[in-house]
């Protein structure tokens, strides 16, 4: 066991760096902060906690960062204070956040420098170009070129770093990516311009090289902003969901600890209606847990001491004491993680559209450059002239438009999806989802809401329902809640009965003046079971018992979404860990013909592998722990925001809300994005078809190069903006 007390750990996990006695920093995700008023309330509430020195909330990130005194306050105090002020909050691991910020600022600084340099060089270049047409003193023109060189050289060295290092990395791995031709073009353009400046020549391309760098950096920065924002949102969701767990210290004191800070050997108290924070063994108590998030099974499972329970299970009937299991043991989570890792390795081979284009583009460009050089030598030009023209070809073909074509479109697509509450997690997810031709659903929590609902039956009289609901009000069991909800729907209200007593694993009873009434399992009510697990009985004295049956409700638009996908030519399938009868019924209800039931995570992967071998590209949609490996293995994947956190980590997209419509949204946006990226490639191609022959013929001047490059970049970006500009569907 560790020597840490839970109190130690609370501050340790929540803060970034903390030498003893120094101030610690803490970042919390805030769930419902929407306006300037909320911003102030959050900061005020945090500052009122003794020991908190500064608090600064961010509306864009939906987070609050604070500096506090670890001896006087802890993460738990601040979270409680925020809760009291009406804001759900959860601690965030600080490391990733600061890394993301640093990378963003790294790019933004380079954008600023390149922008400054591009403007000034362009200003000077315009003077030189117009000077060529009139009567500019050649000495002055030369001086201006020197000034350009002085600005351009440090700029290229500084602002070009992201491209140079990426190109170097690709070359070391014996690959070609888009950054290789970019780096080559920038370096060659700068090098040749310097050479020409030294010689007093006129082929000076500093303006083209630096404005190219500026445009590319803007694209890179936007791309990074998108990724950081997506990662941040996903992290907020996860932190808010995993929440806090109650640890019982050896002395008996209870302490709130963030779930991710739990250690093996910790003893947890899990109250009813709470999710279990970690894999563990039941120490004490018998109760029912809902493992639908883990196994896909909707019927509650009865557990007693010595039995294993898994993180993410919902405790239904009565408080349980649980001992956290070692994380490295053969827990379900460890097994799932292993499967996921294997599945992800298979997918790492995916190559992005831009990289595939670069693999064709780069050799073509270099070939053309070489052909120009050899061609001019053959017709008898001096080698200097041949080199100059060959370099002009490389500069004019520099894939500025090409490198912007894909990121610009993806940013536009992702921000449109953001507005529709779909979080794009994987940068290449938009490309992959556009290629899919088959959609595979999980059942529980994906096609269905994941909560049982009473099946209406005329044999259930209003009186019986009223009485049953009265008893059921006292329980947090999902079946009890379903009865209460049904009573509220049918009769308008449910009045709690006085004096009910809950017997875990059985049901509820209360003593009346004459006899007693009971609600619960068939055995509890003394009736022959109908053979179904998902049923509850109500009995009053010797009156005939009443049976209540439940099933999991299908999401309201599941049928429509399935039909919409089918009409677009998608193959559909349903894979579930639940029992055959249930899966078959749901499949028929939503209209999916291909279904498999009682599958283990490995079976799901095997099924997906078969489809992949048949050449199908599968979009997997799932939420449970048991779906996580399949989500990682599929060509593309989506999870609802209610999913187990490991599934959210594995998925490419996360959608929020009660409906499935975001699936269709995501697919159609991705397809539009792909056709726009292709349009952009065509624009870039047309530009090259016009300009390359000019360059090969030695007719490209610095003015033509600068104009051609800027127009193609602006055209491509404007085309991408059309996607973001389109309103609601």
């Amino acid at each position: 066991m560790t020597a840490h007390t839970a109190a130690d750990r609370l501050t340790q996990t929540a803060k970034g760096v903390s030498p003893a006695g120094a101030a610690a920093t803490l970042t919390l995700a805030i769930e419902n902060m929407h306006c300037g008023g909320c911003l102030r309330s959050v900061e005020r509430a945090a500052l009122k906690v003794p020991g908190v020195r500064t608090a600064r909330a961010s509306l864009a990130a939906k987070r609050v960062s604070m500096v506090y005194d670890p001896d006087r306050a802890g993460a738990g105090d601040v979270i409680d204070a925020l809760q009291a002020a009406g804001f759900a909050a959860a601690a965030i691991e600080a490391g990733k956040q600061s890394r993301d910020d640093a990378r963003q600022n790294y790019l933004l600084r380079r954008v600023a420098v390149a922008g400054f340099a591009a403007m000034n060089i362009m200003l000077i270049s315009i003077a030189v170009w117009s000077g060529e047409a009139s009567d500019m003193d050649p000495a002055l023109a030369s001086a201006f070129r020197w000034v350009s060189a002085l600005i351009a050289l440090p700029t290229v060295a500084y602002a070009g770093q992201p491209f140079f290092s990426s190109a170097l990395g690709a070359l070391k791995g014996r690959r070609l990516n888009m950054d290789v031709p970019i780096s080559l073009a920038i370096l060659l353009a700068t090098g040749m311009s310097l050479y020409q400046t030294l010689r007093g020549g006129q082929q000076v391309y500093f303006d083209a090289a630096v404005s190219l760098l500026f445009f590319l950096l803007v694209g890179r920065f936007l791309d990074e902003t998108l990724r950081v924002r997506a990662r941040g949102e996903a992290q907020n969701l996860l932190s808010l969901q995993s929440g806090m767990a109650t640890v019982i210290e050896p002395g008996g004191a209870q302490l709130q600890v963030p779930a991710h800070a739990l250690r093996p050997g910790d003893r947890l108290l899990v109250s009813t209606g709470e999710r279990i924070g970690a894999d563990g063994v039941v120490l004490e108590g018998t109760g029912q847990v809902d493992q639908s998030l883990i196994t896909g099974e909707t019927a509650p499972l009865t557990v007693s001491s010595g039995q294993e329970v898994y993180a993410g299970s919902l405790n239904l009937t009565r408080p349980l004491r649980i001992e956290v299991r070692a994380a490295d043991s053969a827990t379900l989570l460890a097994e799932i993680s292993r499967l996921m890792l294997a599945a992800e390795q298979g997918k790492a081979r995916y190559r992005r559209l831009a990289d595939r284009a670069a693999a064709i583009y780069a050799p073509a460009v270099h070939g053309l450059g070489l052909a120009t050089f050899l061609g001019w030598l053959l017709v008898g030009a001096s080698w200097q002239t041949a080199v100059t023209y060959a370099i002009a070809v490389l500069i004019i073909t520099c894939p500025c438009a090409l490198a912007l074509a894909v990121p610009a479109v993806q940013i536009a697509a992702a921000s449109r999806l953001f507005r529709r509450r779909i979080i794009v997690k994987a940068a290449d997810g938009i490309e992959r989802i556009a290629e899919t031709d088959m959609v595979v659903f999980d059942k529980t929590g994906t096609l269905t809401v994941g909560r049982p609902q009473l099946i209406e039956d005329e044999r259930i009289s209003d009186d019986a329902l009223t009485a049953a609901a009265g008893l059921a009000c006292a329980s947090k069991h999902p079946y009890a809640r379903a009865i209460v909800a049904a009573a509220e729907q049918r009769l308008g209200r449910a009045v709690p009965a006085s004096g009910p007593e809950e017997v875990p694993g059985c049901g509820l009873k209360r003593t009346l003046k004459q006899g007693e009434e009971r609600i619960g399992s068939a055995e509890w009510c003394g009736v022959e079971s109908g053979g179904e697990e998902s049923e509850v009985w109500y009995r009053r004295d010797s009156q005939a018992p009443v049976r209540f049956r439940f099933d999991d409700r299908v999401r309201s638009d599941a049928g429509d979404v399935v039909a919409a996908l089918r009409s677009r030519g998608y193959r559909l399938a349903l894979l579930s860990g639940d029992r055959i009868a249930v899966v078959e019924r749901i499949a028929r209800e939503v209209g999916i013909e291909t279904w498999r039931a009682e599958l283990k995570p490995t079976d799901k992967i095997a099924w997906l592998d078969q489809r992949a071998a048949e050449g199908r590209k599968v979009l997997m949609i799932g939420d449970g722990l048991n779906d996580a490996p399949a989500l990682a293995a599929a060509h593309a994947s989506m999870s609802p925001a209610s999913a187990a956190d490991i599934s959210q980590r594995a998925a490419d997209f996360i959608f929020q809300g009660e409906k499935l419509a975001p699936i269709v949204d995501a697919i159609s946006t991705a397809k539009q994005a792909r056709s726009m990226a292709l349009q952009n490639f065509v624009v870039a191609l047309v530009y090259n078809v016009i300009c390359v022959p000019l360059a090969m013929a030695g007719m490209v001047t610095p003015l033509i190069a600068a104009i051609a490059m800027s127009t193609s970049s602006i055209l491509v970006t404007a085309n991408a903006a059309r996607l973001a500009g389109r309103g609601s569907p």
Binding site: G36, A60, R109, F116, N120, I124, V147
Partner: protein
Amino acid sequence: MTALAWLVPVALLLGALGLAAFMWALRSGQFEDLEGAAYRALEDDPLEDDDIGKE
């Protein structure tokens, strides 16, 4: 023409000043929450814990 000898450096210097100002703003965290900044401008009383630029 000799005017250019000092006009060009002055123009570049002014531009560089702007760049430096941007770098300072970036470093002091003024671009971290663009949405919140819009609301903060509307606040009447200064936040006592306003720590922009201190860290």
